[in-house]
Amino acid sequence: MTAKAFLLKDKVAIIAGDSKFWAKPIAAALAAAGADVAILAKQSPKLTQAVEAVRKTGRKAIAIPTDVTSPAQVQKSVSQVIGEYGRIDILVNAADIQFFSPFLEIKDTDWQKAMDYNLNSVVNFCRAAGRQMLVQKKGRIINLVSALSERGIVNGTAYCVAAGGVAQLTRALALEWALNGITVNAIGTGWFAEVGKPTDELITKYIPAKRYGKPEEVGSLVVYLAADATEFTTGQLMYADGGLMSHA
């Protein structure tokens, strides 16, 4: 349930970049708070499921299959959303391909791909949606990144660099658009798994909360950052991580 102060009644949200894991719980959370949503990501059965789940709540939902690494396609899809809904209040960047490999074994093309999906796609969406938000003089950009934006991990060079890039994009863009009514914040996620999916026992022990997060536990933070009530918060990276970032 969403507190009244955080309701998003009739706002328009784009969820960008991820059709596999985050699109459905985030779309559900935004819709439950009253927003209409558009999901722009690679075609997948989960994309259709996410849209259907939102429509059942009575809110509008569309899916626009998009190659998020292509600036031209992203611009086209975002324009389509504006055509359909008339505005964009919220952009949630959720692109996430989990690529981990020993540093010296990473091919140039793989490195490029990791950057294209996890970092450049965010740039593409911030540009396309940001243009509209600047006209509206209002907007909320929420970048979903891993806590690996601020921490290192073995075999994670490409993933960490891209996530760190998103964190820095968040800070710098927040300052650049601070006077334009647009806030740019990021959510750093810890270990998450869908209910019933396998989890790692050692990792579970390592997490201070002693459990993986449930995808909807990020949805509530997305709604909070999308609300009008958070207009004074910008350039921040906050975590939904079961205490992971307090770990020594």
């Binding site: 969403t2 507190a3 300052l175 006077l179 004074f232 910008t234 350039g235 975590y239 991580d241």
Partner: protein, 280 residues
């Protein structure tokens, strides 16, 4: 009043420093979502005003005059809350003194001033949290919300007690989060930037604030170009004490107009050159 359920229906929240400014905003926003409120602070008249406003919202409210730097008074405050309200779900350690005495060179700071500054902004949070600690751990649930400051993360010239105490609150948050995660207790920290609580301040401090409002450093720490309102902070508390934040612990939630995202150059400083120029 509507019949609509709030997200905090039936919860009991203690808010220290709850009579004015940020604490007052928290009290009213939490009450609007259904929480019963205990406000604890030194000055009584503001507490009574908040209690009256909370009751108008249809919630139970209790004012307990408390000096949060005195462990005995803090323990009594928590005992009385349990007796009169039956339970505690949320503790918000908001009591503190934003600046108090004017900043001065280190050699002019007396032992008493140092202790007072640390007591009021750090030890008070420790005492209050300690007072609920066994209770929270035994019932295996609870939320603690600390209030630090942008100055808990960055240095400010000649501002020793405030910066050190608020930095201590940051580490108190992390230590509590790690220690109490197994007991389903979430501990998070609100990080206010420059929030203007002018209207709540006594006249002599309003004079200090007026100068502060005019000062260059204030404007330079505010990328959004304006100061914050108490509700900017109150809403964070509302989010953090609801079950929407059940997987969030050890977190820092800033409302600072973008201040902490910067710090490498003055606000608004915008370098620009082309790749051609860079390679020339």
């Amino acid at each position: 009043m509507t019949d609509e359920k709030g997200t905090l229906d039936g919860k009991v929240a203690i808010i220290t420093g709850g009579g004015t400014g940020l604490g007052k905003s928290m009290a009213l926003l939490l009450a609007a979502e259904g929480a019963d409120i205990v406000v604890a602070a030194r000055r009584v008249p503001p507490l009574e005003e908040v209690v009256a406003e909370v009751r108008k919202l249809g919630r139970r409210a209790l004012a307990i005059p408390t000096d949060c730097t005195d462990p005995a008074q803090v323990n009594q405050m928590v005992d009385r809350t349990l007796t009169e309200m039956g339970k505690i779900d949320v503790l918000i350690n908001n009591a503190g003194l934003v600046r108090g005495a004017r900043a001065k060179p280190m050699w002019e700071i007396s032992d008493a001033e140092w202790r007072e500054g640390i007591d009021v902004n750090l030890s008070s949070a420790f005492y209050c949290t300690r007072a609920v600690s066994k209770y929270f751990v035994e019932r295996k649930s609870g939320k603690v919300i600390n209030v630090s400051s942008g100055e808990g993360f960055r240095g400010v010239r000649d501002n020793y007690m405030y910066c050190c105490a608020k930095g201590g609150v940051v580490q108190l948050t992390r230590t509590l989060a790690v220690s109490w995660s197994p007991f389903n207790i979430q501990v998070n920290c609100i990080v206010p930037g420059f929030v203007d609580t002018f209207d709540y301040q006594p006249p002599e401090y309003q004079k200090v604030l007026e100068q502060y409002r005019m000062s260059r450093s204030t404007r330079l720490f505010l990328p959004v170009g304006h100061t914050g309102k108490p509700d900017d902070i109150g809403f964070i508390a509302l989010f953090l004490c609801s079950d929407a934040a059940d997987y969030i612990t050890g977190g820092f939630f800033a409302a600072d107009g973008g201040g902490l995202a910067g710090g490498f150059a003055t606000t608004g400083y915008a370098p620009s050159n082309t790749l051609k120029e860079a390679l020339a």
